[in-house]
Symmetry: C2
Subunit: 366 residues, 2 copies
């Protein structure tokens, strides 16, 4: 076993604290990774605070992991010691169902779905009918820790052209926005709306712009409108009825990154005929909507979940190629609870990224 | 002017009564049609009773019209006197906007949208800023009448293989279900759900079966399950949780024909990854939904409006070719108010069709 240290919470309300624990040694097809940076995703907060009612404690978040390979199992062929690698939201899947065999393991329909990097599997072994689940474990601990051990085919290559700390959020915020932009056919000349301008919105704008789209950001404040303009997008303050009226029937695709429930009715009229409003952040009940608006121009409401492993590699490479990186603010892990507070209060436009070197002192003391 | 007689209502609550009125003579590109049969659509009731808040009175419904050409304007080339023809929901459109030029005039984005067969244009001339609208009129009177005059390119050819009275509902119920089945790619081997089993549901099942799909009907009663089975479909009673659980992730497409608001949450889990739930009947506020369900397998909620003129001709020909016709019950126009009552109370599985010969006595008396 590997002695490990991370930050975890044991209850929904206590905040994160250091937790010493053990990880299994890397098996033949696994790699051991020294975590260098880990992004802070809004989902981390939802999970730590049990907003979805499925949290298994202790909960050690972190699914935007960048690190260096320190050991490779005997059968590993894709990665070698010293490689800069990434781990996103998943560390395994059933590999047998239709989505898995079609390379969409993020939609795994196996008995326990995909294995989440933290708080996975969805159904703890102890609660499964026969005390077992597909992955043989009750919980997983994420990247708010000094070391992770992951099956090689769920480990991404991080291009050297990317700033190391900024690569981390690409593994969730990046692929979560890249995948729907691609799926709904965004290309040069597309007219794209991005609703919400936090960590996901930032990536959505940068990616859509790099794809050649004309982008409008819907955000909460005039200050953020100016930020959007810096990225080559237009900005509209949410609820500005005059601006909305002028934008009726103009969008090929609208991507909502709002991480909470929100009304879709104000945005549906802005879609062109046959266009889609896709909400990726709101894992929540959406308020009632006017179906007449969908009917009148055959419009759709949709959702999308992160992205596949192949797409995750694609977006890392795409970012490196186009010189795109998330706006990040690097923090020591000791500031994680304040960061959570700030994310919940304001809406932070950049992504917090934990510099895992900050764990060193505590590791030595442990 | 042509002296005409129809059934109309002057208020939302008074029911339909005979109304003598005049129609313009057919212009060069128009045909005059003696109405033989007119289907009764649930929309007729919504419109007559001002459920959508946009009814212009007097309101003379009827947009499932089958009749015989009695006059053809000098420039008419598509139809001749004596032809059996049909008129559906539209009698004109702007002909200039993107949808119109792409042959989707039912999504016309012109200044007054398409011209509805009755209660059209959407914006009465009297209420338009300059007292005019694109069609120069305040209201249109539909097919609950002895004669209509329509531009030839909005007039369909009714194949002689179809029973005349049964052809009428194809012009709305038929195309409203045919268009989304085609748009979402239903073909041989597709697994299709049909929610609601009235006039639209009946057509949806027959069309999807003729396309080679495996069809399951979700309906309100065991009796209707037996009816569904007669059409070669499976039947499930709405809300049967055991049946729903067994159908999780199995549908390529679900078409909801429920003509009222209804919860979509019970049906979304039944869709396959990337599949769509399309509600064509509910021109209403849909209650809140769980976006997590859309996200987890990239599912969509959509709407669809009737179909184009080309699709209306297609579905008439398709029905003739496949020996499909709606189940109809022919009534005299004097029974229209009772028919409305029955449609609102029970859910009638067949389509009422008015035999316009029943107007003859009143015409002679007038």
């Amino acid at each position: 076993m590997i002695k490990a240290l991370g930050y975890a919470t044991k209850h929904s309300f206590t905040g994160l604290k250091p937790l010493a624990f053990e990880r299994e040694e890397a098996g033949p097809s696994e790699v051991e990774i020294e975590v260098l940076y880990c992004g802070v995703c809004h989902s981390d907060i939802h999970q730590a605070e049990n907003d979805w009612g499925n949290t298994v404690y202790p909960c050690m978040p972190g699914h935007e992991i960048v690190g260096r390979v320190t050991k490779a199992g005997s059968a590993v062929t894709r990665h070698k010691v010293g490689d800069l690698v990434g781990v996103g939201c998943m560390i395994d899947s059933c590999r047998k169902c239709e989505p898995c065999t079609e390379g969409e393991e993020h939609y795994c329909q196996g008995p326990n779905s995909w294995l989440a990097t933290y708080n996975g599997p969805m159904k703890p072994a102890a609660q499964a009918p026969d005390g077992k689940n597909a992955y043989g474990r009750d919980n997983t601990y994420g990247g708010y820790s000094n070391v992770v051990v992951v099956k090689e085919d769920f480990v991404l290559k991080v291009p050297t052209a990317l700033p190391v700390e900024a690569a981390a959020p690409i593994l969730c915020a990046g692929v979560t926005t890249y995948s729907p932009l691609k799926h709904w056919g965004v290309k040069a000349g597309s007219v794209v709306g991005v609703v919400g301008f936090g960590g996901l919105g930032d990536m959505a704008v940068k990616l859509a712009r790099a794809m050649g789209a004309e982008v409008t950001v819907f955000t909460t404040s005039k200050e953020k409108v100016a930020e959007a303009e810096k990225l080559g997008a237009k900005g509209v303050v949410e609820g500005d009825k005059v601006a909305y009226a002028a934008l009726a029937n103009t969008f090929d695709f609208i991507l909502s990154t709002i991480p909470e429930k929100h009304k879709v009715d104000p945005f549906v009229p802005l879609l062109k005929r046959d266009a889609t409003y896709c909400a990726v952040g709101a894992l929540a009940q959406i308020p009632g909507y006017d179906n007449m608006q969908l009917v009148m121009q055959r419009k759709s409401l949709a959702g999308s979940l992160i992205g596949s492993i192949a797409e995750t590699q694609e977006v890392l490479d795409f970012c490196a190629e186009h010189g795109i990186a998330p706006d990040v603010q690097v923090i020591p892990i000791q500031e994680i609870n304040q960061a959570y507070k700030r994310i919940k209060e304001g809406d932070v436009r950049f992504r917090y990224v934990i510099d895992m070197a900050s764990l060193k002192q505590e590791l030595e003391a442990a």
